[in-house]
Symmetry: C2
Subunit: 354 residues, 2 copies
């Protein structure tokens, strides 16, 4: 039965690919198809496939068109287990808002691993926050204490509701959520209301208890945390080692460029540090500066090995754990593979001859 | 920047609602829009912009999915003068024909330099031959003798008619065309008829005299040549130095992978050698092995400088000149910029919300 279904699916795929067509999914369609549970499952699968040697991250391309004003980065890779390879290009034009245009454009082009034929073009902007929020939560799922109750999110920007939603789903034992803004002091009430509403929207239809989200000052928030998400673009390590209680888990998702750092190096020196990709963490992640300062080894573990059960997560309830999430093309590819499958099943998007 | 996270994030959300559009151009549409004159003008403009610092070639990405069976390469860059940046991904699956699928798929995704927004997705397969044929001819235009009469093309594959057509247009003084197949002996009559018909098709509507194309053996052909195009995938330098007359120009377009070589190193040692891109020529081009053997300097001239008039082309009627054309993303981008402009003007292709 399984064999004949596989054969039929393969035949359908071959027939379709002879026609050489491409599916275009716009921002609205992608937003309707993606979800927090999908992103959690996809990101975890991506890490696991990377560990199993079924995936690879290709070298990052970065180009600055106008220094400090216009740049783009292109992340790419292959995720054989999900039958996909491809790329995401994000352009960042700080002079766009003057002309009524968004700073960021994100576009993905993906290919069918089975044939090498182009498969889909997607507006990737909605995906980035889902997969980044999911990454922080997957780190917490595998490294935080099972009795962790208090989630603290540092940074109340666009990522914040995605991090909260993904954590509430991945760690159902959480009972309090505190947000703080290390760069601007306390989070404004206005922003808090927006975030609460976003989280409720993101988790609608999911079986999750959503607590009333609180705000607090940075130090007070960190001192009561069991799980911390750092999600600011800081170049100053605002999060002090001495504030962090034993047994706390941190997922650091903000540092994605050389020079960025949110957490004091001393904290990483005493923590069990797990990377999404060791090379990327040492070059652009939270680990970069501590490693340069000599407090981190050259090689450390990746989250995929922990998910696969090949390496332990935390070793005790007192251990501080850190997941350095720099963001991999594979997270996008895994999420896109699921979005495109769903779009094919539901007939969503424009299909054009190519 | 660090201080403006909240503001930037908010701004991003406000303007995120603006829907982008993307134009999809399929193989038939691209084939109808591209032309030999367009490719010649585009490729020359690309080289000139590279020299003027208005363009750059980004690092090549190459990945082998299954050793020797399935791979892909991704060439990318920016061409500011033409208002475009982007990429071309070519997948090469040698196991595809078993399943009735083509070995190669080529797809381009390009962006608007002015805004960073995605602009078009194209089937890039038809473009490669036009821009490669044009590259060989642009090299000859700037380096061959003004009284060159006999064009010899080594290799009678898919590129051959494109090289002939572009040369006939760029060098109207040519009066004879001889093709030869260094890897399989003389060119068959059947193949000759196809090539003649292709050239007539490619140049229909152009003001060009098309001579009756001849065939000859390799040595005999080379000994009478004024202009030579080498266009085979050879790893053996079949073209002997001693056969080449003083004053001959060679455009080498075949070598595009480490280890490939068509022309004996001794010929390059005595020639004025001009590159499309020095780094690429030294790593994957005709220059790679002669350079390793120590007969070429580390730095030499690029064609863009010759086109701009900043450096001389040939210095005498006796000098042998060589243009090493490895193929740059910029050639594709320049051609695509013109194709997309024409498609916009003519309303060709599918325009989808993104």
């Amino acid at each position: 039965m399984t064999g004949s279904l596989g054969g039929a699916a393969l035949m359908r795929e071959l027939v379709e690919d002879i026609m050489d067509h491409i599916r275009i999914l716009n921002a609205d369609e992608v937003s309707r198809l993606v979800s927090i549970p999908m992103a959690l499952e996809a990101v975890e699968a991506a890490y696991a496939q990377k560990h199993a040697g079924q995936a690879s991250v290709w070298p990052l391309l970065f180009h600055e068109f106008v220094d400090g004003v216009r740049d783009m980065d292109l992340k790419s890779g292959n995720l054989d287990g999900d039958g996909i390879w491809g790329l995401k290009a994000i352009s960042c034009y700080y002079d766009n808002p003057e002309r009524g245009l968004p700073v960021y454009h994100g576009t993905s082009l993906v290919f069918d691993y089975a044939t090498g034929a182009p498969k889909a073009v997607l507006n990737a902007m909605p995906i980035t926050r889902y997969r980044t929020g999911a990454a922080g939560a997957v780190g917490a799922k595998w490294l935080a204490r099972k009795d962790a109750e208090v989630l603290v999110v540092c940074g109340d920007g666009g990522l914040c509701p995605y991090l909260i939603s993904a954590n509430l789903l991945a760690l159902p034992q959480l009972s309090r959520v505190v947000i703080t803004n290390p760069l601007h002091g306390r989070t404004s009430d206005e922003r808090l209301g927006e975030i609460q509403a976003s989280v409720e929207g993101l988790l609608s239809g999911c079986d999750a208890d959503i607590p009333a989200i609180e705000t607090d000052g940075l130090e007070a928030a960190v001192r009561q945390a069991d799980v911390i998400m750092t999600a600011t673009p800081s170049y100053d390590p605002y999060l002090k080692d001495e504030w962090v209680r034993p047994g706390t888990h941190l997922s650091c998702v903000g540092a994605d460029k050389s020079g960025k750092q949110e957490v004091e190096s001393a904290l990483l020196a005493r923590a069990r540090v797990v990377a999404d990709d060791v090379h990327q963490c040492l070059t652009v992640g939270e680990c970069e500066l501590p490693h340069e300062q000599g407090v981190l080894p050259d090689k450390f573990d990746e989250i995929g090995a922990v998910i696969a059960g090949d390496l332990p997560g935390r070793s005790s309830n007192d251990q501080v754990t850190v997941f350095d999430s720099t963001g991999l093309s594979l997270q996008d590819l895994a999420t896109i593979a699921r979005i495109v499958s769903q779009a094919e099943a539901d007939g969503v998007g424009v299909v054009a001859d190519l």
